[in-house]
Every structure is written in structure tokens, then in C-alpha cells.
């Protein structure tokens, strides 16, 4: 995976992609704001969501044991997976035990995280995504680029081309009309639902008190996966727990309004173990750790585990809007991905060390987050870890050390200012700098830099006793724009 800035470069240059993303995120941003504004207790709901999740995280061991107990009582089987490989092994073995070689899937971020589809393919098992957007991504041999709208980077003519090329039962002369595309997908998927004996699902919430699992979705594909097959295998991150059914009341309001800007999502499915003659005969729950315990140990970073995968932070993020989802190098793009991926994967790789910097710290994500994750705080926290543990950046380190040394002493700062002032006629003969050397050239590629002024403020203050010995500062009105305020370039 390339580091974020390298991966983002391509997306930024793709004006059509940028246009699509700006349009899509802009629309959903406005709709979401309206849906949230309808509730006069949104702030209280947000605080409740935050506190319920924090309570669960602080007592995770207790709630996980309770969940295991209740799921088992209800006739399900619980499996514990330390990491991605272990989770994939468990699922593959369960599928093989049924004698089947095909599974249907309802959108699951946890299995994207573990790379389950690829792992199953190696065992000769085909996994079919049934969420429309996931299907588009899968048929296009592509990666998802948004938590909620994984194919947000595709437009409808792309989708028609993918269907024509990759969907064996696509109708002749398929057009790019949304209704035709949806109908083609519906027919294709219906055949899969009716023949599949095994399903793999994700989990939005797991209720510890009852062993009940909950999936929220919009298309009905989830309900088909959860009810038709004989064997159901659900994979969830260990942090997805809520203590009781009553707690769902909070999240069933927070999640749809934050994600799809709906008052209620179209399908909310709950299931508890197995019931003779109704739904799957065999149910397995895989509890995935994969770096979550380590994340939990980090006092600042653990708040990322409150995330309910609503994607509100992506839709308000100006960086996501320009860079697209693929640049984040994981199934979790956008601001939440920038803090989650380096924590669950560790900060050792180039991409993970670059993710905490993939933000201007504008704070829009924190404002939008329905469980009040202070994403900017975690980003700054992880940047300190990246400097300590990540790949070395000797030039940056030298620059920061030199700047720190200069700024620790007013005398040294004053000297640096005098040197800058003395150089102004050389570095910026026309009052602004059009090219800076070395890494600073990244600035002047597209922006002028201001020329240093003839005199720093502190020098002026010392010379004029704070302006008292000088009725008007000499530069007032006569400055030739050397403070970067010139109107016209030459």
C-alpha cells in the first residue's frame, strides 16, 4: 500500500472522480443535517451513545462472556478469533463442514478487514456479495471506497459496463438507467439467495443480555441472507456490543440519521440463536479481536472503538472528498479510517504511518460523529506515536528540531527574524516567493509564499517602544506588499 499522499495524488488529479465525490458527499451532508435537525434531543442521544459504548468498552470482558453465554443458550456456537487469519480459518472450516462451495454475504466490514473473500477463494469457496454496491465492487475486481456507499467512486455507466462484462446472466442490451441496473442485480442475486445453503453476515450490534444480533440495511438482501440459508455465520468485531435491548433505542436513531439521513433504516433484522422450522438450522458467531484489545489499552485512541460505522465523518471530510476512499488503504476510509487502521494494524507501514497526517484537523468529523469520537484529538495523539515508532523522516526531524531550538529562545527567534528580513530583497525581489527550496517546494508548486517583512513585530516594538516614539510605523501605507498582500502579480 502506498502512503496516503502518494495514493491521493491520482484521485486529486481525476477531476471526474472529484466531481462525483463532491456531488455525492455534498448531497448526503445536506440531507443528514436536515435529518439530525429534526430531533431536539440529538445532543443528548449523542452523549448517550458515547456513554453506552464507553461503558461497554470499560467492561468488555464481562459483556463478551455474557454474550457468549446467551448465544450458546439460544443454540448458537461462539468462536473466538485473535486475528484476521484465525477468523478466516474458522469461517472456511465451518463452510467446508457443510460440504458447500458457495456462500452469500451481507455487507460486513469485519470480513473486508480480514480479507475473508480472498481467503475463502483459496479454499475453493466462492463468496457472493449481495449488497448492491458491494456486488458492483466485487464484480469490478475493485476495492470499496466508502463505508456506506462502497461503490461511490463508480458512476452508472461504469456499473453498466461492469455488469455487461462480469455478470453472466445480465440481460441483453442492458442500459445505464438506475431501474434497469437494479433489476439486473435483483435477478442475479435472487438466484444466489435461493440456491445458497450458507450465509456470512456482519453485525451492527450484539445485545449481551439476550444474545441477539442486529443488522441494519436498506435493500432487503440482509434479510434474505439471514433467513434463507441453512447455516449462518456472523462475524463481528468484539466492540460491537450493547448491554441490553433498551440501548438499541439510542443507536437505532443515531445510526440511520447519521448514515443515510433516514429517520429509520428500511430493514432492521434481529436474530437470537436458532429456532426449529424458522431460519437457519445452524448459527455461528465469530468474535474478532484483530488489534482491538491493543487499541483498547490506549487511553486516547480507544475512543475509535465507539465507532458505529455510519460514515458521517467521511461525508463531511474535505480531505476524503478530494482524495477518495482508496487512498486510505483499508476498508475503513476517511477520518475514522485514519485513526482506526493505524491502531488495529499498528503504525509500522508507510501507509499506516501516513494516515494520522491525512487530515487538516478542521474538526468537521468530530462535529458530525454521532458517538462524539474526538477524531482530531486521536489524530494528533497518533502523530506523536508515528514520530516515535513510525518510519524515520530525517529531513522533517531535523527541521522540527531546528525550529524547536530556535523557538525555545526569544533571542534566537529574533536572530532568525533578522536573517529573514535581511534576505528579503534576494529571496523575494517582487514581494513574494514563487519557489522555495527542498521539501518546501510542495508549498510553492501552487501557492506563493509571503516575503519576510523589513522588520519583525518584536524588532519594531523594541525600536519604537511599542510605537510610542513613532506616531506611525514607517511601513504603514508605504509597504510595497511585502507582507504578502500584493494584488497583482508581475
Amino acid at each position: 500500500m502506498p502512503a496516503f499522499p502518494d495514493a491521493a495524488r491520482e484521485a486529486v488529479a481525476d477531476t471526474r472522480l472529484r466531481g462525483n465525490l463532491a456531488h455525492a458527499t455534498g448531497t448526503i451532508r445536506e440531507r443528514r443535517a436536515a435529518a439530525v435537525a429534526e430531533l431536539d434531543d440529538w445532543d443528548a442521544l449523542r452523549e448517550s451513545g458515547k456513554q453506552i459504548k464507553d461503558h461497554v468498552l470499560a467492561n468488555l470482558g464481562h459483556y463478551l462472556r455474557r454474550l457468549e453465554e446467551k448465544v450458546t443458550e439460544a443454540g448458537g456456537t461462539v468462536h473466538w478469533a485473535r486475528d484476521a487469519a484465525e477468523a478466516n480459518r474458522i469461517v472456511a472450516d465451518l463452510v467446508k463442514a457443510t460440504g458447500e462451495s458457495e456462500v452469500v454475504k451481507v455487507k460486513s466490514m469485519a470480513t473486508q478487514e480480514t480479507g475473508l473473500n480472498e481467503a475463502l477463494a483459496e479454499e475453493g469457496i466462492a463468496a457472493y456479495e449481495t449488497d448492491l454496491a458491494e456486488l458492483i465492487v466485487q464484480l469490478g475486481h475493485d476495492r470499496p471506497s466508502h463505508i456506506l456507499v462502497p461503490a461511490i467512486h463508480r458512476n452508472r455507466s461504469d456499473i453498466r459496463d461492469i455488469f455487461r462484462r462480469e455478470m453472466p446472466d445480465a440481460p441483453e442490451g442492458l442500459t445505464d438507467a438506475p431501474a434497469d441496473l437494479a433489476e439486473a442485480a435483483r435477478r442475479h442475486l435472487r438466484a444466489k439467495f435461493l440456491s445458497a445453503k450458507v450465509a456470512v453476515s456482519g453485525v451492527n450490534f450484539a445485545v449481551a443480555d439476550t444474545g441477539t444480533l442486529v443488522v441494519l440495511e436498506s435493500e432487503g438482501n440482509g434479510r434474505m441472507c439471514l433467513t434463507l440459508p441453512e447455516t449462518l455465520i456472523s462475524v463481528m468485531g468484539v466492540e460491537k456490543i450493547v448491554p441490553s435491548m433498551r440501548d438499541l433505542e439510542v443507536f437505532l436513531q443515531l445510526l440511520p440519521r447519521s448514515s443515510t439521513a433516514e429517520r429509520m433504516n428500511p430493514y432492521t433484522s434481529t436474530w437470537t440463536g436458532v429456532h426449529p422450522g424458522d431460519g437457519p438450522r445452524d448459527f455461528h458467531l465469530v468474535l474478532l479481536d484483530n488489534g482491538r484489545t491493543e487499541t483498547l489499552a490506549d487511553e486516547v485512541g480507544r475512543q475509535a472503538l465507539r465507532c458505529i460505522r455510519c460514515s458521517a465523518c467521511l461525508n463531511v471530510c474535505p480531505v476524503y472528498e478530494r482524495a477518495g476512499g482508496h487512498a486510505y488503504g483499508s476498508p475503513y476510509p476517511g477520518p475514522i479510517g485514519a485513526i482506526l487502521s493505524p491502531q488495529i494494524r499498528g503504525i509500522g507501514s508507510d501507509v499506516d504511518a501516513s494516515l494520522p497526517y491525512a487530515s487538516s484537523l478542521c474538526g468537521a468529523c468530530f462535529e458530525a460523529c454521532p458517538v462524539a469520537i474526538d477524531i482530531p484529538e486521536v489524530l494528533v495523539h497518533l502523530r506523536a506515536r508515528a514520530v516515535e515508532d513510525g518510519p524515520r523522516h530525517p529531513v522533517e526531524r531535523a527541521a522540527m528540531t531546528a525550529a524547536g531550538w530556535t523557538l525555545r529562545s526569544p533571542a534566537r527567534l529574533a536572530l532568525a527574524q533578522r536573517l529573514a528580513s535581511a534576505s528579503r530583497r534576494i529571496v523575494a525581489p517582487r514581494g513574494r516567493i514563487r519557489r522555495l527550496p527542498g521539501p518546501l517546494n510542495a508549498w510553492t508548486e501552487t501557492r506563493d509564499a509571503p516575503a519576510p517583512p523589513a522588520e519583525s513585530f518584536r524588532a519594531w516594538w523594541a525600536r519604537t517602544d511599542g510605537g510610542r516614539t513613532e506616531p506611525r510605523a514607517p511601513e504603514d501605507g508605504t509597504d510595497d506588499g511585502t507582507d504578502g498582500r500584493t494584488e497583482e502579480g508581475q
Partner: protein
């Protein structure tokens, strides 16, 4: 009340006119400010780039320099937010001081209780509410209330004003392409207003947007809010 001016390293070094405007403005309103010579930097650049140890040294230096003042006023919303939100976390003993630090518009409206500062600025102006003033400091409409009282001003709304300009400190270098794309959209919004002056309460964001404005020969100048508020008919900015 002993009031200290914390000008910030960027303003001191690159934008001395903002500091001079602060001094003129506050004196005109009947208040004096001191400029403690020991001041340097609030530590934001180091903290936000991940150099926490360096930042801590600067935070402690800030507390030593300003500890004795009743109020500290600064022309940077971003640095004010750094001091208020982060200084107590990096050096817990500084929390008493952090609450006495005010960004300029907060100081004028909340501490001094004025919105009409007697300014005159006969130009078409649009205001960019920087992210830190908006979402960390929550200055709300204070800057606009001050600007609306300026004589002769033609204040026009900036489209998508709350969108980040893409500066973000070292973000502008580390993610230069994304930063430039964000800036290009901000510049387009500024041009759409037809304003000849773009104003904000943070020179760092203005340096970024202003650099793209001069590069594209947009004919729009960038001015810190303090300079507009300091401007009078007798001594126009």
C-alpha cells in the same frame, strides 16, 4: 487589568502589521497592552506534527512568560485554541492561565464588551471563518458582529464558508496536492463573491489562501480582521 499581547511566532515574524493594528485598536479603545519579550510560540506546529516533547518545552515557556497577566489577547484563533485545549493537557499546571487567553474577537466582545470599535473600511469584504475559530474556539458570530459595525464596509457572504481552506499547518506540505485542491475551491468561492478583500482571524490560513490568490492573479487582497478593525478614516489600512 494587565493585558499582554501574544502575537504568535507567525504574526511576529511574517505579519507585523497585524500586531501593530492590535496595538492601535486596543489603545484607541482606551486599553494598553504589553508585549512580553520572552514570548515565542504556542507549540502548535510541533504538537500537530507529532513532536510532543518540543511542544511541551514551548508550552512551559509560554506559561513562564504570560503567567503574571490578567488577560492575554492574541490575533490567532488557531493558537488560542491550542492554548485553551492542549496546554492544560501537556502541562496541567498551566490550566489557570489557559482560561485567561482570548482570541481578539472574544476579547473585544466578551471581555471589553464592544462590537462597534469605531472602524472605517470602505471596501467590499468577505469573511472566512477559519476551522479552529469555528469548531475549536466556537467564536460564533463575534467576528461578523464586529465587521457589521465597520463604517463604509460592504460585507458579503462567502459561499461554503465553513469549509476548510486546506492549510492545516504542515498538512499543506505533507499532503500538498489535497491541500491545493481544497485551496482551489476556497479561492473559487472567494472570487464568486466579487470582494476585493478576504478577511479572517488567522494569518496562517490567509497566507495559504492569499498565496493561491496572488499566484492566480485574482486581484483579491488578504487582510487580518485586526487590520480592518484598526482602520479609521484618519488612518486607513
Amino acid at each position: 487589568m494587565r493585558v499582554a499581547l501574544f502575537l504568535t511566532c507567525v504574526n511576529d515574524t511574517m505579519y507585523p502589521e497585524t500586531g501593530k493594528a492590535m496595538v492601535r485598536l486596543l489603545r484607541r479603545l482606551g486599553h494598553d497592552v504589553e508585549f512580553p519579550a520572552g514570548q515565542t510560540c504556542c507549540g502548535q506546529m510541533h504538537l500537530n506534527t507529532g513532536y510532543r516533547t518540543q511542544a511541551k518545552h514551548l508550552v512551559k515557556g509560554f506559561a513562564e512568560t504570560f503567567g503574571g497577566y490578567d488577560a492575554v489577547v492574541t490575533p490567532s484563533a488557531s493558537c488560542a485554541a491550542m492554548i485553551r485545549d492542549w496546554h492544560p493537557r501537556l502541562a496541567p499546571r498551566t490550566s489557570g492561565l489557559a482560561s485567561r487567553v482570548h482570541e481578539l474577537t472574544e476579547f473585544l466582545v466578551d471581555v471589553l464588551g464592544v462590537t462597534d470599535v469605531g472602524a472605517y473600511y470602505p471596501h467590499r469584504v468577505t469573511y472566512h471563518p477559519t476551522c479552529h475559530s469555528l469548531r475549536m474556539l466556537h467564536v460564533g458570530d463575534r467576528p461578523l458582529r464586529l465587521l457589521k459595525e465597520v463604517r463604509g464596509i460592504d460585507l458579503v457572504d462567502l459561499p461554503d464558508a465553513a469549509e476548510c481552506c486546506g492549510f492545516g499547518g504542515t498538512f499543506a506540505l505533507k499532503n500538498a496536492e489535497v491541500s491545493a485542491a481544497m485551496c482551489a475551491d476556497k479561492v473559487a468561492a472567494v472570487r464568486e463573491t466579487g470582494a476585493g478583500t478576504l478577511c479572517a482571524a488567522d494569518n496562517s490560513c490567509l497566507m495559504h489562501i492569499g498565496g493561491a490568490l496572488t499566484r492566480t492573479r485574482a486581484g483579491v487582497r488578504t487582510v487580518h480582521l485586526a487590520e480592518i478593525l484598526a482602520s479609521t478614516e484618519e488612518a486607513p489600512a
